[in-house]
């Protein structure tokens, strides 16, 4: 006990000494505030204008970051009659390395700002800061001069990196909760528990659509979107492709998959091949069933258009991420009278699919589709987990709106993503 106190005392004394020493080093003898002015010779600054330096300079390590940054705050300056603040300049000196009293300019902030973050610090160094207000003085009606006033030197500060971003703790809790529900229900489903999934209109029609192509002796086109494998919608699209390919293989109907990305080409080929083997018809698979057109959005659309008009498929599937080409594709397909089943999570393209296709999977239904078609426990389970997440959101909406409407508690702050 005794020893601890003495250490504390020593440290205290040491830091006071250090502080005084630093003060001697950095405070210029004249005063706390210096006036440096760029006054043209002959014009004097009227005595009536008392310029005040920025006060209450607070410096601290920018929280929740990877280091290398210090945040500087100061108090807003009082408004003066003939002097307008133009901007603030931020000055910095390193305690260890620089020549005493030498401050370097690190950046500037606009005249109403009271905070600046200096992102060019070194985590191993200690710094002090000064804030310089740049004033525009109106001497008389014609003369305006610029002058600056510096604040006193700030406390010492050094930047550091943090191991956890506490501003994001709510996101962390949310992700963990949602992941838990999804994994829990996947586990449940895999251990044999029956999970109910409501009917999804578009998917009931898949068999019928493939069947029609078989009857008519025509092709089926499957378009897995125009985005790359890095898009989760494309992944959902190729998953559904697997099921469609199985059905097509069973019916012995020609399925053609023109794609616009090389990675999709690679994946789709594997998936279709696998589907054909799965139903015992590996010999029926042909390499050129899945082929690449071009990476370009409209080059691709133009290519498909031509193919659709010339080859007149009986059924066309559009499952994945689409942009503007959705309309060209769906409208051309519609014009040759093909049955069209579409699904995308691109809100801006949904209206066209809704209008021009026979069935459309809206948004989340696309992701549900692979679960619905395959009836695989892992997919059904995660769908159920998503629903629990949705239920929590709905409850939050209800409870939160009531609490906020009657000003009981600001519930929405629970969902705040960044500190402002």
């Amino acid at each position: 006990m005794q020893q601890e106190q003495s250490i504390a005392f020593k440290t205290g004394m040491l830091s006071i000494c250090l502080f005084i020493l630093l003060g001697l080093l950095y405070l210029p003898p004249e005063s706390v505030a210096q006036q440096e002015s760029s006054v043209p010779p002959g014009t004097a600054i009227p005595d009536s204008i008392q310029l005040k330096p920025p006060i209450h300079i607070e410096v601290k390590d920018t929280p929740d970051d990877a280091g290398g940054s210090v945040t500087i705050r100061w108090e807003e300056q009082p408004v003066l009659e003939n002097a307008v603040i133009q901007k603030y300049r931020i000055l910095r000196a390193s305690v260890e390395n620089s020549v005493p009293g030498e401050f370097i300019f690190v950046g500037e902030a606009t005249n109403r700002a009271t905070v600046f973050s200096d992102g060019s610090t070194d985590d191993d160094s200690t710094y002090v800061y000064k804030v310089e207000a740049v004033y525009e003085l109106k001497v008389d009606d014609t003369t305006v001069v610029t002058t600056t006033v510096q604040s006193s030197v700030s406390d010492e500060v050094s930047s550091s990196a943090q191991w956890f971003n506490f501003q994001r703790i709510n996101v962390f809790v949310g992700v963990v909760l949602l992941s838990f529900f999804i994994l829990y229900y996947i586990y449940q489903a895999q251990s044999g528990k029956k999970l109910f999934i409501r009917k999804i209109a578009g998917l009931e029609a898949v068999d019928e659509a493939v069947g029609r192509a078989t009857e008519m002796g025509k092709k089926i086109f499957y378009i897995p979107g125009t985005q790359d494998m890095d898009n989760v919608q494309t992944i959902a699209g190729v998953t559904i492709l697997g099921r469609v390919a199985e059905i097509a293989a069973q019916y012995d109907t020609w399925l053609e998959v023109p794609v616009s990305r090389s990675l999709v080409l690679v994946t789709a080929k594997e998936i279709v091949k696998e589907a054909y083997s799965k139903v015992g018809r590996p010999d029926a698979f042909r390499e050129d069933q899945v082929h690449y057109l071009t990476d370009d959005q409209f080059g691709y659309a133009a290519g498909i258009d031509g193919m659709v008009v010339r080859e007149r498929p009986a059924t066309i599937f559009y499952m994945g991420a689409f942009y503007a080409e959705s309309l060209i594709l769906a409208e051309t397909g519609n014009s040759i009278g093909a049955i069209q089943i579409s699904g995308t999570a691109m809100p801006s393209q949904l209206p066209f699919f809704v209008a021009a296709c026979d069935y459309t999977l809206i948004g989340e239904e696309l992701f549900a589709a692979s679960a619905y078609l395959s009836r695989e426990p892992k997919l059904l389970g995660s769908l159920k987990g998503q629903d629990v997440g949705k239920a929590l959101i709905l409850i939050s909406l209800l409870v939160g709106t009531i609490l906020e409407t009657f000003h009981i508690w600001q519930f929405s702050s629970l969902f705040k993503v960044i500190g402002e």
Binding site: D65, G68, G107, R112, A324, S335, G419, E420
Partner: protein, 336 residues
């Protein structure tokens, strides 16, 4: 196909080409100075189109349906003819455009505005007028503009827009200087990863500007480390990567204050971000551009094209009505 149709089609193509050549020669020789209808002719054209639509409606009521090509023809007419008309239309500024303008006018002179050009020439008709109007406003109000692009063609579009903006009298009076008042940092690959890394360090993503000047040699950006040194940002977006990625990364992770100009296709989705405060201000499509031109008092291409835009909308609505008339007439069964 019969050979007579083929000959007829070929004749039409040749005719179009011949007329084009004549008009083009006229343009070079100087006797073709453009076409302009007088108000009386404009009005007549409008009435004739209206009567034709009425005739189509009547035919539809009698059970004769029109084909795709007729629809195409009318859309073409509705877009082309207004170019030659001398009519002016008044319109009003919508709240989200006003919000963008307010956010801009609150900025102090010297504020740094980051503008990301995430589009290519095909979307330029919608976004270029916005870009020009926005840059013009910034440069004439002492806002410092930092341009980047996440699409390879973005910075080129930015240069075109700058060229136009610098022509304006207000801007020219300010004599903006490259490197001090505005910079074009060029394109960088990596989509949203670029945004994410700009969150910690601009310079690592844009070591040089568009013309090869080193980052630290540009006074405007020398002390711009990351988003915390940016006062407002504006994203011109035609797809991916675009406003959604900027909101997800720059706004929600780094607290950037941002407004957006979007193609009208994307705009509806952005209203959710607008409503949640993730976006401050939104220009949607050409009419967003026109409204921004109105609120900043500078007529540009957005306003100029509004007449064609109005006509095109009317035609689409007319055909929806005709289509529905046909549908109800046929006892709601017939699939066209």
């Amino acid at each position: 196909m019969s050979s007579t149709t083929r000959i007829r089609e070929l004749a039409v193509v040749i005719l179009i080409l011949v007329i084009s050549v004549i008009v083009y020669i006229g343009k070079i020789q100087g006797w073709n100075n453009g076409l302009m209808f007088s108000p009386a002719v404009s009005l007549t054209v409008v009435i004739v189109i209206f009567l034709l639509l009425l005739y189509i409606l009547l035919r539809t009521l009698q059970g004769h349906l029109i084909g795709r090509r007729t629809v195409f023809l009318f859309v073409g007419l509705a877009v082309v003819l207004p170019f030659f008309m001398t009519l002016t239309l008044k319109f009003r500024v919508s709240p989200e455009v006003q919000q963008l303008y307010d956010a801009l006018s609150e900025l102090q002179p010297g504020s740094k505005v980051l503008v990301s050009f995430d589009y290519d020439p095909p979307s330029a008709p919608e976004l270029q007028p916005m870009a020009v109007a926005f840059l013009r406003y910034c440069l004439s109000h002492d806002l410092k503009v930092i341009i980047i692009g996440l699409w390879p063609q973005g910075p080129q579009q930015a240069n075109l827009a700058l060229e136009d903006a610098l022509k304006s009298k207000e801007v020219a009076a300010k004599k903006p200087e490259y490197g001090v008042d505005y910079v074009n940092l060029g394109f960088q690959v990596g989509n949203e990863f670029v945004i994410q890394r700009m969150g910690t360090d601009f310079k690592s993503m844009f070591p040089k500007d568009y013309s090869g000047t080193v980052y630290d040699d540009l006074p405007l950006v020398r002390n711009v480390k990351n988003f915390s040194n940016i006062d407002y940002s504006f994203n011109l977006s035609a797809g991916y990567p675009g406003t959604q990625e900027w909101v997800q990364v720059a706004v929600d992770r780094y607290g950037l204050k941002m407004g957006a100009g979007n193609t009208a296709v994307q705009a509806p989705m952005m209203y959710t971000y607008l409503n949640a405060g993730q976006l401050v201000g939104l220009l949607g499509g050409m009419n967003g551009a026109a409204e921004f031109e109105l609120v900043t008092n500078e007529i540009g291409k957005g306003t100029k094209f509004m007449l064609s835009q109005s006509f095109a909308h009317m035609i689409v609505i007319a055909f929806i009505i005709i289509g529905n008339v046909a549908y109800f007439k046929s006892g709601r069964k017939k699939k066209l």
